[in-house]
């Protein structure tokens, strides 16, 4: 081989062959590569996956812009971080067929909550299908306003209520009574009952707080607090006052053909003491149609949703004695 031919061979081998081999060489052809980017530039791609129940699927997750997180709704699997330009590998196995939602778990931008995708899992179902949520069974109009006509003078306190030494009769305190009834309705029911005779209106409000505390647990409150901080606080604010870092921007978004409703203020007793737990759960599950409230039904388990509802009332009720 003369020098010129050798040089040409080297040119072809190095300058063309090397990049070509590097480009076509893929580390894992079986894995599905999912690229994440903020919703404004496309969200997850691909966003619709298919799988078969009982068979693992391998995912290779990468972010094309900022830090994202990946989790599958109604799943115990922990969220994983999806870092810009890096690849996170993940294997998922679904026991049950159905349509699962995967979503971003990091506040990546204004429309973070829109960054979702689905995994359609085919196969034979072995478990009973889910029941409809309580607000559907009750036929509640969860979009209707629910102002409380009566308000407490002080923030109701379960600790003060417990000190009254009053036992709330079982017919007033079952879970079936609690969830369809707003606090102000519970207050009305308590006020008209004989066990509150001689108590002040504020005392009765404190008993309403006792009733709320009796239907939750410290563990559920912890779960609710975590979910709130991770998913709600950006808009609703740490104090629940609707003043989260994203609130102003999200209210000014122009994709709605009408003025967006303000972000709900959980610190407002007029609204919250008139809200039925079942209606709040419905809002969380379904989302606020015509508002910017995302739907969390495919993401939170039912227990998580109720834990979150329990936590929302903590913006109105004191659970323990104030220090």
């Amino acid at each position: 081989m003369n020098a010129e031919r050798l040089a040409r061979f080297i040119v072809i081998a190095l300058a063309i062959g090397l990049p070509f081999i590097a480009v076509i060489g893929s580390p894992d052809a079986q894995a599905i590569e999912i690229h994440g980017s903020v919703s404004e530039t496309g969200g997850w791609a691909p966003a619709d996956l298919t799988a078969t129940a009982g068979r693992p699927i391998r995912l290779r997750l990468t972010s094309d812009d900022v830090m994202h997180g990946f989790a599958v709704g109604q799943s115990d699997a922990p969220a994983v971080d999806v870092k810009p330009g890096e690849v996170t590998e993940l294997t998922l196995t679904f026991d049950q067929p159905g349509k699962y939602v995967f979503y971003c778990t990091r506040w990546c931008g204004l429309n973070h909550w829109r960054m979702r995708g689905t995994i359609q899992v085919e196969g034979q179902a072995t478990a009973a299908s889910d029941e409809p949520p309580l607000y559907v069974k009750l036929g509640l109009d969860i979009d209707a306003a629910h102002p409380a006509g009566v308000l407490p003078a002080l923030r109701p306190s379960a600790a003060r209520g417990a000190k009254l030494g009053v036992t709330i009769p079982a017919e007033f305190s079952s879970l079936d009574d609690y969830r369809p009834r707003s606090p102000v309705e519970t207050w009305g029911a308590f006020r008209g009952a004989s066990f509150t005779r001689g108590l002040s209106d504020q005392d009765v409000w404190d008993l309403v707080a006792v009733d709320w505390r009796s239907h939750t647990t410290p563990e559920a409150m912890q779960v609710g607090a975590r979910l709130y901080a991770e998913n709600c606080a950006a808009c609703h604010g740490e104090s629940g006052a609707g003043d989260g870092v994203m609130a102003a921007a999200i209210e000014n978004q122009s994709h709605l053909d009408h003025a967006a409703k303000p972000v709900a203020d959980f610190s407002d007793p007029v609204s919250m003491l008139g809200a039925k737990p079942a209606a709040l759960q419905g809002k969380i599950v379904r989302g606020g149609m015509g508002t910017n409230m995302p739907y969390w039904g495919p993401i939170f388990t039912e227990a998580q949703t109720w834990a979150l509802v329990d936590y929302l009332f903590a913006f109105q009720f004191e659970m323990e004695d104030e220090p």
Binding site: A15, V23, G85
Partner: protein, 461 residues
Amino acid sequence: MTLTSPRTRRFDLTRLPLVKPLLRSRWPQFLVTVIALSGFLFAIITGLAGTPVGSRNFGIVFVWIAWWALLMLIAVPLLGRGWCSICPIPVPGEWLQRGAVLKPNGRGWGLARRWPRRLRNIWLQNASFALVALFSAVVLTQPAATGIVLAAFLFIAVGASLIFERRAFCRYLCPVGGFIGLYSQIAPIEVRVKDISICAAHTEKTCYIGDAEGYGCPWQSFPGGLAKNTYCGACMECLRTCPHDNIAINLRPFGDDLIKPIGRRLDEAFKAFIMLGSAVAYSAVMLGTWGDLKSAAYAVGSGEWFAYAIAFLAFIFGVLPGAFLLAIVAGQRLSGSTAKTKSTFIHMAYALVPLGLAAWIAFSLSFVFTNLSYLWPALSDPLGRGWNLLGAAHAQWTPYLTQAMPMLQAIVLLGGLLWSSATARRIAGERLSARAAMRQSLPVAGFCLIVTAGLLGLLIG
């Protein structure tokens, strides 16, 4: 040490063992160039098809951090146009033009037209640099933009080689080549003839025409007439074609070309302003704390970007040369010089070359060492596919030399200020008495002082 020419303080490196055979042989240069071409093509591919995350993209990191560091901190200050001698951009077109990869080997392709006479200057290079600079905030951060720009360079270089003779792209179009040429006047190395009388007697002029051993000067320079590095691409063709062994690769004092009172031109003078002004603008946009400025530079096509573009162009083509002109006029008044203002302006502008290079080195020190740690994951996973070739795919961003950086930058900038001031005095002294030269150069030194103070403020705070 052997002095090889009438010029003093020079040492011909070709006298060292192995140097001349290594430089005359095409293989070392060819292999390095092919490796560079491979990296260049890979940078285009990764820019267009790799991860869109700039800090993890091989194209962005390789070109704008690794190559830039190599170029501005080492190659240009020490080797002048050393990079041009192995630059991969023109070689595909050049190979097609020559019909050969190595030695002359028959007939190549192309029209071999002469470059238009009116464009035989570096105004197009000035414009091409300013054009790229306008989009630099995007090009330096968006891999696709980097891929497109690099591919465009390659495409234009191939086109230029197929239409025009020799390296028209390098000589008249390349935005990088323009400033390398300007700053190569500082480098302590040069390609020159040993004895000009030998060239004068050599009627064949194989260094310019070419022969069986090599090509005529690709840069369209006659080695016998070389007085400055500006238009010598250090390609070594003249070393191969000179039958009289009359080519030297000299080590010389830094900045030797700047004090030669010949070949000074307005287009090169403006290159000095463009580069100095761009260093200031880049420092403000990329290292400054003004979010609105950064956003405007990034929002290509928006009203804010147009405002930024106008301000940038006005600064490098208007404000800076205008302020310098005032300094020249003031110097003339002080010194009583009767020289033409335009001529003095052009000559004295070369005094800005050391400060300009110092500004780019100071900017690059901060830019490069802040971002150098991005190189390790980009090399480990060049396509963003989850590879870990070097075990550094998950290396965290770590800025280097953060403690020493302000001191380094201050030393470089103050060194550039002193060097420019001294050069201004020497240039003024070419036509004036020592006392008048001092007075002519004082306002220029003041101009340099203001620019240096501005850069110190931007880079060090």
